[in-house]
Amino acid sequence: MAALFTPRANVIMTASVLAIACAVTSGCLLWFAWPYTDYARQVGWTIEQPVPFSHQHHVAGLGIDCRFCHSSVERSAQASMPPTFTCMTCHSQIWTDAAVLAGIRDSFLRNTPMTWQRVTDVPDYVYFNHGIHVTKGVGCESCHGNVATMALTYKAKSLTMQFCLDCHRDPGSSLRPAENIFDTDWHRVPSTPGPAALLARYHVGGRNLTECSICHR
């Protein structure tokens, strides 16, 4: 009876076992690593808007405050998008026949709101409230990035649960004085009160901020 397996069979067997082990390991690693990538989280992607609005021009160039357009950000869960009337405050006077603003004028004439597309979104099972964050010392920049540099608005942070928890587990170091909330490029300076002082000033810390029901209701 001829030999059942050639001498090479051992090599083939060992190589296949190793190859399967490598494939499974690297597959798992890829699977775990994938959600961490900016690509998976769509960080840095601009989203097509009905009118190409430039935060860079309006914030850095003209010095308009965030709240001029996002007027309910301090009081409401929603930061809110401005009604077309807010745009027309200025654009009824300047750039009145700019082609790029045709959509705004159209919306104004038809009395239908602009369909702005949300750039920074969290899943529907997350109850994010702008008011509590802004009034308790979290700057807009902490989640939205430096919008003053964005010619077209894009998502600046991953907004994973890890991202939220990094702050909820240690809120103090991310808080800033009330007068700096709307600064788009703020850095801690020696005269800034320390994390503990800010926590005390905003009365943060009475409740465990990592309880499930803080964000999931």
Binding site: L4, F5, N10, M13, F32, P35, Y36, S158, T160, M161, Q162, C164, L165, D166
Partner: protein
């Protein structure tokens, strides 16, 4: 001693011949017997029902089951605990009695371990199916993730995940490792090419050289030493899944040993249940003698007495303890809606097995078989009683309720029985059900 565990006149040669013929069927006249095909057909029919049930579950969600508030654990956990307890028999016999050097265990271990694998496979299905989103079962595993979440190591449910995983992996390895020399024997004796390649690949190049045996035996011993505590830990942790919860009737320190006793009882019952018909069907009477049935019957009786002790302590701690809610729940068990379940448990697990005190009964295999079938039903009823009647009678009267399983839960249970039988029948057909290499040692030792 050896006269009782092997028929006289058997040699290593005749034993190997007998087992290999059953597995390899070299002669065209020796087709796979009809009983095998009939059983397989029945098993596949049950399995098909289970597949439909699971498919519908994945499509429609957990709402198709009868579980609801307050009885949020129903057939899913019940059947999981039942199956994993059934799986224990193989490990008790092959690992524990290997360490104890019990010579009778040699002819039973392959069969018992194969039963373990099939039952563990069925058990592993339920915890995954009972998740609302089964695709996320791996969230129990501590792996780095963007949610910033880590497994809750204070929860017995997480220990359960690790215990089951370790138990299933080690059971598979132990079974396969023990099988290697026999696969090599089959490879050498096979006539058809596909058989030689099939068993040859599975034998992983085992040639029976002295060097291989010198490594093989210590490793087998170490694996047995690992398996014996694992079977205790896995059932203790299943018990803690309940004891860790503050539900009435669950929050008891005796639960871990109670579940180990229950596992022993169902484990020995399934081994007897399979051995009694398979012995004549595979022609194994010379190696699995009446004396083996006798030993297993005595083990079953011992396990039944252990379980009886746990039942008595359950009653004692409830009525000796201070908790009125526990007593109300227990009264509900004794004469409430599910009272037949409680009394059925007592009859099938405790009362009927007492017949095994008599040697005459232990020698009557149909009676032993019926008692074992009763024990398996009884153990199932016991899980029903623990899970459902506790959840149906919680501390607050306003949260009382009841549970009625739906067709989909019954068909899933039947489906896992089908899966168990299908897997076991395939193993019976293609894998030697007698550990030939170990049996040779027993036969050669004979004076």
């Amino acid at each position: 001693m050896t006269g009782r565990i092997v028929h006289p006149g058997e040699t290593p040669w005749s034993m190997t011949e007998r087992v290999c013929v059953t597995t390899l069927r070299p002669d065209a006249g020796l087709w796979t017997p009809l009983w095998w095909w009939l059983c397989l057909g029945m098993a596949l029919a049950l399995l098909a029902g289970g597949v439909v049930s699971v498919a519908w579950l994945f499509y429609a969600g957990l709402g198709i089951w009868g579980i609801d508030w307050p009885v949020a654990w129903g057939f899913d956990i019940l059947n999981y605990v039942w199956w994993i307890a059934i799986a224990s028999g193989g490990t008790f016999i092959s690992a524990l009695f290997f360490l104890l050097r019990a010579p009778w265990r040699t002819s039973l271990n392959r069969l018992a371990e194969s039963l373990t694998l099939c039952a563990a496979l069925c058990a592993a299905i339920f915890p995954i199916l009972h998740l609302g989103r089964p695709q996320f079962f791996y969230w129990l595993f501590p792996y780095p993730n963007t949610m910033g979440l880590w497994a809750q190591f204070r929860s017995p449910l997480v220990w359960d995940f690790f215990a089951i995983l370790a138990y299933v992996l080690c059971s598979v390895l132990f079974w396969y490792f023990g099988l290697l020399p026999d696969l090599a024997t089959l490879r050498e004796r096979a006539q058809r090419r596909w058989q030689r390649v099939f068993y040859g690949v599975l034998a992983l190049g085992f040639r029976g050289s002295a060097r291989q045996w010198r490594h093989y035996q210590p490793v087998y011993g170490v694996m047995a030493a690992l398996m014996a505590p694992l079977v205790v830990s896995v059932h203790s942790i299943v018990g803690m899944d309940f004891a860790g919860g503050a539900a009435t009737g669950w929050h008891s320190t005796q639960f871990p040993p109670f579940f180990v006793f229950g596992a022993g009882l169902s484990g020995f019952a399934i081994v007897l249940l399979a051995v009694i018909p398979l012995r004549p069907a595979l022609g194994l009477q010379p190696y699995i003698t009446d004396w083996h049935i006798d030993v297993l019957g005595r083990l079953l009786l011992t396990a039944s007495l252990c379980v009886a002790y746990a039942y008595v302590m359950d009653v004692f701690s409830t009525f000796y303890g201070p908790d009125q809610a526990d007593r109300t729940m227990f009264a509900f068990r004794l004469h409430g809606l599910y009272a037949p379940v409680y009394w059925g448990t007592i009859m099938l697990n405790i009362v009927f097995p007492q017949l095994l005190w008599w040697r005459g009964v232990r020698m009557k295999q149909p009676v032993v078989w019926a008692i074992c079938l009763g024990v398996l039903v009884g153990m199932w009823l016991e899980r029903f009683q623990i899970i459902v009647s506790s959840l149906a009678r919680t501390q607050l009267q306003s949260a009382w309720g009841q549970y009625t399983p739906t067709l989909w839960e019954w068909s899933l249970l039947a489906g896992t029985i089908g899966l168990f039988l299908t897997a076991f029948l395939l193993l019976v057909r293609f894998i030697p059900m007698l550990a030939m290499a170990e049996m040779r040692a027993v036969l050669e030792d004979r004076p």
